[in-house]
Amino acid sequence: MSQHQPLNRRVITPPFLVLGVLFLIAVYYLGVRFVNGMGFVTNLNGGYAWGLWVVYDIVIGTALACGGYALAVVVYVANKGKYHPLLRPALLASLLGYALGGIGAFIDMGRWWQFYNILLPWHMNFNAVMLEVGLCVAAYILVLFIEFSPVVLERFGARNLRQKLNKVLFFFIALGVLLPTMHQSSLGSMLIAMGHKVHPLWQTLYLQPLLAVLTAFTMGFAVVVFEASLSSVGFGRPAETPLLSGLGKAIVGLIAVYLVFRLGEVVVQGKLGLLFAGDLGSLLFLLETALFIYPLVVLLSPAARCNSRLLLWSAVSMLFAGSLYRLNAFLITYNPGPGYSYFPSVPEIMVTVGLVALEVMVFLYVVKRFPVLHREERR
């Protein structure tokens, strides 16, 4: 007997309909994008080749989708089986988040009808970080689907197939830990080749892959804590606070390591002066760092780790910290040179909003109809 069960509630609710309208608005603008061209929908230009779609949908969106990755490491590598109840919803959120990243990459691709060139060995450029990101993200979406497929098979009672899958699942779980480590670090490496266009406080060259993977991991944990606390509020389920407080400890360690490298680089490379320049770059750096320090300070206290409200606030702070780190590096402080500026257009924003709405709609549908959430336990 499975320990998971569908919520079995109505799917079509007023919030669901609002999300549906947002999605339809995005569909309209996507129609314009594919019929007339990207310039009719976005504010992209010769200096800012990447805007909201790349930086939110892919760079930030996939990091927000690292919950499955972070929990897989805890459950299967560090062997903490007690976190199992959190795994299925985290995997679902990861699958949807990465799918959003894949869709985002496709709609942003200027020559989308040739996308398969990246899969053809004679076209591949093994020097390019983008090749690693493209192939690895595509592979990980498949792996996430396989990791999540026991839920689908369980729903349709395909017991035979499920047993067969269980025998090889360990390999896909291992891949599901390796692949995000690879492409999340590469997302950071992409900044290296952008050279002087990346603000010196974010251009850390050799440290880029490490900082990117550490923040992805932090955001993965944060999103698990966030979703679990929120679904206990939203669906009125018993709080998972005892489980989450354990994750809080791991988060403290991760942020500490991250800050040592992040601030150490600034000091060693003699960039301390930039911190107090009083310009936009320095203010954003201080804000970003404060958002990382807040959860570190709060979660150091064992009492705070058991307080679901403080846990939720810490998670929110970390999500903003990690997102802002990427947004700052890729977009806000990114400076291609004189004569260029960028702020996303309304249609551009509506496409991203609509795709996130779709992601939330699918999440709601799946948890209500498939055995994703853990059976409520009386504690």
């Binding site: 499975s2 200027g110 060139n117 026991p150 291992a174 891949l175 290296i192």
Partner: protein
């Protein structure tokens, strides 16, 4: 493998990534043996934009019209219709040419045909290629997926995507040698160098252009010099003119591994909007990091092996506690 060993191995791998990268760093690439390029002398440029118009004639591109001004091409920057543009530096009353304060100056912007091009390094599908002989950086739309990473990887913002076309492509200067034009293969010179009335844009081999630039560096301000037009190796014509006070800086001799299109000027290059570049190309740093982590896929393979072992063991521990 015990979990502790695995963690140790992971940390060791990470350390190798962080430190080993510098040991076997990939150096900057070297210039192609018969590299061709151009020398742009900002002090000779009079801003007539004959090069802009000739470039459009050769490459079949429409002029950029701004308002009711039809007399000349009003392109302000590179775009899908402009592979070569003349920009202006202006300060205060802009009275004297090549003076920083209250002066003005011209600057040409077009593909620099880098020796170690960022665009080529970052393109996932090899849509940008460098000719092994001439060093010309060319674009191949049949390979391109339109991800525009080349635009982010170019220090000069040269590659331009045609956003207003549902089937757009990247546009950049290919030194008038793309299929259908092939001026260099036919023994001709680039359109812009051919059209330039003052020899501000010269064509030639990188070696010959570098020699010419060094000769100009050694001129005393006011000294008469016989300036060539067209191809530096066998000029169409020459004219005598007083040398300006050149900045002792040949842009592209060393910047980010060097470029085949060289610039010299009488005012500092940062005033002309050139980017702050060191000698090491960011492409070489990026590739060093990438090839250290993914050398023969050894590190990922080892990590995957370790992970597979650990996960399998831990799943067996949880027997009965199904996912």
């Amino acid at each position: 493998m015990k979990r502790r060993d695995f963690l140790k191995a992971s940390v060791g791998g990470a350390a190798a990534v962080l430190t080993g990268g510098r040991v076997e760093a990939r150096p900057n690439l070297e210039p192609a043996p018969n590299a061709v390029g151009m020398l742009y002398d900002a002090a000779l440029c009079v801003g007539c934009k004959a090069c802009v118009s000739k470039c459009k004639a050769v490459n079949g591109m429409a002029p950029v019209i701004e308002g009711d001004w039809y007399s000349w091409d009003s392109a302000r920057d590179l775009s899908k219709d402009t592979l070569n543009v003349i920009k202006v530096y202006r300060d205060g009353e802009a009275q004297v040419k090549d003076r920083v304060v209250n002066g003005f100056a011209f600057e040409k912007r077009s593909c620099m045909h880098c020796v170690d091009p960022g665009c080529i390094s970052v393109c996932p599908v090899t849509a940008l290629r460098k000719d092994p002989q001439t060093g010309i950086v060319s674009y191949h739309a049949d390979a391109c997926i339109g991800c525009r990473t080349c635009m982010t990887g170019c220090p000069y913002n040269v590659p331009q995507f045609d956003y207003n076309n549902p089937f757009g492509e990247i546009h950049k200067c290919q030194m008038c040698n793309q299929p259908g034009v092939e001026r260099i293969d036919k023994g001709q010179i680039t359109g812009c160098a051919e059209a330039c009335p003052t020899g501000a844009t010269l064509f030639g081999t990188r070696t010959a252009l570098l020699e010419e630039a060094r000769r100009r560096m050694s001129l005393k301000p006011g000294e008469s010099y016989s300036y060539p037009r067209g191809d530096v190796r066998h000029p169409d014509s020459r004219y005598a003119r007083e040398a300006p006070a050149y900045q002792q800086h040949i842009w592209g001799e060393k910047e980010a591994g060097g470029t085949n299109v060289l610039h010299i000027s009488a005012i500092p290059f940062d005033k002309l909007g050139m980017p702050p570049l060191g000698e090491r190309s960011h492409a070489s740093i990026s590739e060093t990091v990438q090839h250290t982590i993914y050398s023969y896929m050894a590190l990922p393979a080892v990590v995957l092996g370790g992970l597979t072992y650990v996960v399998r063991r831990n799943m067996n521990d949880d027997e009965g506690d199904e996912s």
